[in-house]
Amino acid sequence: MTDYTSWSASAIAAAVRGKKAKAEDVAGAHLERIRAEDPKVRAFIRVLADEALEAAREVDAKVAEGRDPGLLAGVPVALKDNLNVRGVPTTCGSKILEGFVAPYDATVVERLKLHGAVIVGKTNMDEFAMGSSTENSAFFPTKNPHDHARVPGGSSGGSAAAVASGMVPLALGSDTGGSIRQPASFCGVVGLKPTYGLVSRYGLVAFASSLDQIGPIARNVEDAALALTAISGFDPLDSTSAPSQPRSYDVSSGVQGLRIGLPAEYAGPGLEPDVKAAVDRALAALRAKGAQTVDVSLPNTKHAVSTYYILAPSEASANLARFDGMRYGFSTARANARLTGLLETYEASRGRGFGPEVKRRIMLGTYALSSGYYDAYYGRAQRVRTLIKRDFDEAFRNADVLLTPVAPTPAFKLGEKTSDPVQMYLSDVFTIPCNIAGIAGVSVPCGKTKGGLPLGVQLLSRPFEEHILLAAAKALEGL
């Protein structure tokens, strides 16, 4: 029997389209792998076995009838559980969405289905995507497939762990401050955060709307590019969707003559030697393939974490106001035959439905937006955001792609940072600026620590230059 669980998404799609493999067999092999592995890794909140087999049979029928089955024909895909799939519960890793069944498909889900992808399940995440370890899930923590005593990273930890352990070749996550790139790095897979506005956010549960972006997690760069081709492009249902023409992302252009920028501020103390060594390896590989290196400076990097932890919670406090116990999800009014007071229902439903990290961020955001503090916090952070964005504009005058670490350390131990929110926040220091500036970023595997943990490096590009970014990422494969 062919072991489809080691195949790439591109190979599966080519085989299914070319009648060399049946989508149903591919789905069956991955569901079998999930049954064997997931009790240990716990990447999935929900597995959609019957639905996946049915979708796979439909793909096979299309192929048999000679109709185009799409770019991702028969490719099993896992979705972070903040993406809506019609008829399936969306939990967002939270108790407050208890009982909620999505009444519509997210645009990315619609596009995946259109391209013949087979959705096999919804993956675990930090509640409302707030966290860097998937330990803030209201249900259970996910384990790093490379070491079950360690975190998979977060917040898209379930998606990264599912891809890394062969349960799916491809998954979608969302990235607000590193939530695709950091877990991809911790799990040894590729994670792409596209340019803000390139992928529609319609049907993604909103966390921080000016920073959120959906992107693929895959085992190689070509698969990430294929997924981006399928899901990207203008969507009238997302008013922040960038007007753009559909395009096919090719990763074969190479790095000859490409100018790789090394930001001085990303090489500071606190970086583990193994992480530094991974960046050096990547640099040597890019040089060997014809890229040049230039030194660049992003002087406002030191303010990025503070800026982010004002802006993101502020936006979250507004976005999460919709969870009010009135229309869907957890509600203290559900249990009561007689309705209690309005304010009491709001406060009790939210107080009991949200977990500690979400409450902390709602409080932080509400404070930063409140009368008397707005100018000192939110207003100021928006202005510093401009400075951070200008730093990148300046750096990209001399460099085409920037090379940096993804996180200061490899995957840390479960429980290591849960008691100190500030330490957890600081682990996002290298991924946050990309979201603040709205540019594109990718995390690519680049060797392992002496102890065998995966290490990734981050590449950043100008907005809408994913074709250049992914070509550079491709040059790092196999290190």
């Binding site: 909620f100 000016s210 500690p356 902390r360 409080m363 100021r380 964005k389 929110p421 907005p463």
Partner: protein
């Protein structure tokens, strides 16, 4: 300075019920988080415009056309309390 009264005020603004233990923890944690943000106050932003989002798109409009939603019943089914085709909510105006 974050004190208990401020935590309670913000929790009320956020429509968030906190236990006494949560209020105490929030006071400590918000204080620690805001301490790390002190350096932001030293940045000269007097001549810098704010960025609310990066694309520069403004006033994105579409025709104001009503379209039926195909899964109306699925929406209503999620309601904690419903009365026929209505969401049933507590009295808003006393």
């Amino acid at each position: 300075m974050i004190d208990e009264a401020l935590v309670k005020h913000v929790a009320r603004l956020a429509r968030l019920q906190l236990t006494d233990a949560e209020t105490a923890a929030m006071k400590r944690e918000l204080g620690a988080i805001l301490d790390t943000m002190e350096a932001l106050k030293s940045v000269d932003v007097s001549a810098v415009p704010p960025t609310s989002h990066v694309l520069g798109l403004t006033d994105v409009l579409r025709p104001d056309e009503a379209r039926p939603f195909a899964h109306r019943e699925a929406l209503l089914e999620g309601a904690p309390n419903r009365d026929g085709d209505y969401f049933k909510v507590p009295k808003v105006l006393e």
